[in-house]
Symmetry: C2
Subunit: 296 residues, 2 copies
Amino acid sequence: DLWDICCELALGLPALSRVAICGGTHGNELSGVYLLRELQKSRQEEAPDSVALVTVMSNPRAVQQCRRYTETDLNRCFTDATLSSPISDRTPYEIVRAQELNALLGPKGSADAVDLVCDLHNTTANMGLCFISYSDCDWICLHICRHLQARASDSMEIGPQPHGVIRADIMGIMAEGVRLMLDWVCRFNSGEQFKGDKMEVYTLVRNVDYPRDPATHSIIAAIHPQLQDRDFCLLHHGDPLFLHFSGKTECYPWAEPLYPFFVNEGAYYEKGIALSLAHKNTVGIPPICVKSSRRN
Amino acid sequence: DLWDICCELALGLPALSRVAICGGTHGNELSGVYLLRELQKSRQEEAPDSVALVTVMSNPRAVQQCRRYTETDLNRCFTDATLSSPISDRTPYEIVRAQELNALLGPKGSADAVDLVCDLHNTTANMGLCFISYSDCDWICLHICRHLQARASDSMEIGPQPHGVIRADIMGIMAEGVRLMLDWVCRFNSGEQFKGDKMEVYTLVRNVDYPRDPATHSIIAAIHPQLQDRDFCLLHHGDPLFLHFSGKTECYPWAEPLYPFFVNEGAYYEKGIALSLAHKNTVGIPPICVKSSRRN
């Protein structure tokens, strides 16, 4: 069929000459913090020749305090507006730091920017080794994700991790993910052609907040035990969603079945997100290869 | 034998006229925070007649910020020295608050103090429903613990909880524990006699820190995957203790087997505790009954 024919024509994409690995964007997500420190110790020996690797501790002040952030969430500061906002004495630390990171790794969207940023996070949700991309047609990210899916050992068996805690198993799988990502980049830069494929991706439809007291805004229910730890398990109309502290069960109210993720992420209580809901889509990814050994 | 004879003589102890239930002593341990709010809504109807119940949100400022504490750990402020230290403008909030709590529930050790304090906590360690008492001859606490052991459903199946997160299952078992505690106090006050018994208790021997870099004091190893989540499982010489980020396994170095607990508690990284080690002891608890219906 048409798909098979398309797969024979590999799309040429520029080499990934400069790759950034960032840890500690959230200072209490410790796998990335400690993995980054290990990479900074060892990368001299291990960095593949075809890639210039930049390792960055994104929010050292939050890491120092073992908190998500000190004044505002750094991972919400990379909009064009925030990156270009004027700095004063009262500018939150994270906005200043976002502009520093943009100078170091960007400017975002410019020819001077690094070609790939791998930002390491943890979650208290049971999402396994999870790859988040802001586009379903970023072929580099999708090919890397497919590479990890095919090779990462038992990644989906890994449980959630509390913030402020290191679990050796989760740090191990994150280290394997980073190694496989660099392995893919190295193969790509050296001219290997990657076949086209179809992939399943989850696309955000909406976020759902906890039930709250209208007067105090305090939470009055927890994620239902039947939903807790069941990220990516399809929810149907009438399935339990919340268990109110009063004992009442609140059910999934929508007709359309959707997939839950970020179920009970600790850092999202303040953002008003108890869980997110997604469509599962199949995306066709084209075969790709490097267009040139020099930077485009 | 002698024990059986002793068991026929019930020890008379004063009634527990005033009981305090405290939540939010650590502001990000959310089961106690939300359970306390529920108790404060409903206690008018449910408080047993024979007990005057006081419910206290211990550290409201830390609860507000969803942090363990704002300036210093409140749960380390109840020493006689701290409770009697002079207050100035620069005194940490938690020391001021500890003195307020001592005025409300104490003074500690005085005849005016409440008869029992039940302080609700969570841990990221896999310790199940766990009862911590600072004495192995506090017969009231040990009898309440035995009451819970005999009646609490599947308490040891409950996993750890990240700080800053509510899990409905863990909140449910904590609610059951509080209900059983009040049930026991009510029975005790109304004259029920409780049999003597032998109980297994774990007594702290020493705390063990994470391996650290001597220069930076940074952690260089995580709890070994074979020890993670295995609280109260006996450790022998040579069992894996830590997995260094370098890949090296560090083993239990002592000849005497001991029981690990508080394995990988997130709040203890800053205290230099990776795990605690305990002896298991058998303690004989005497039969008890209330000495008098009036306060002693």
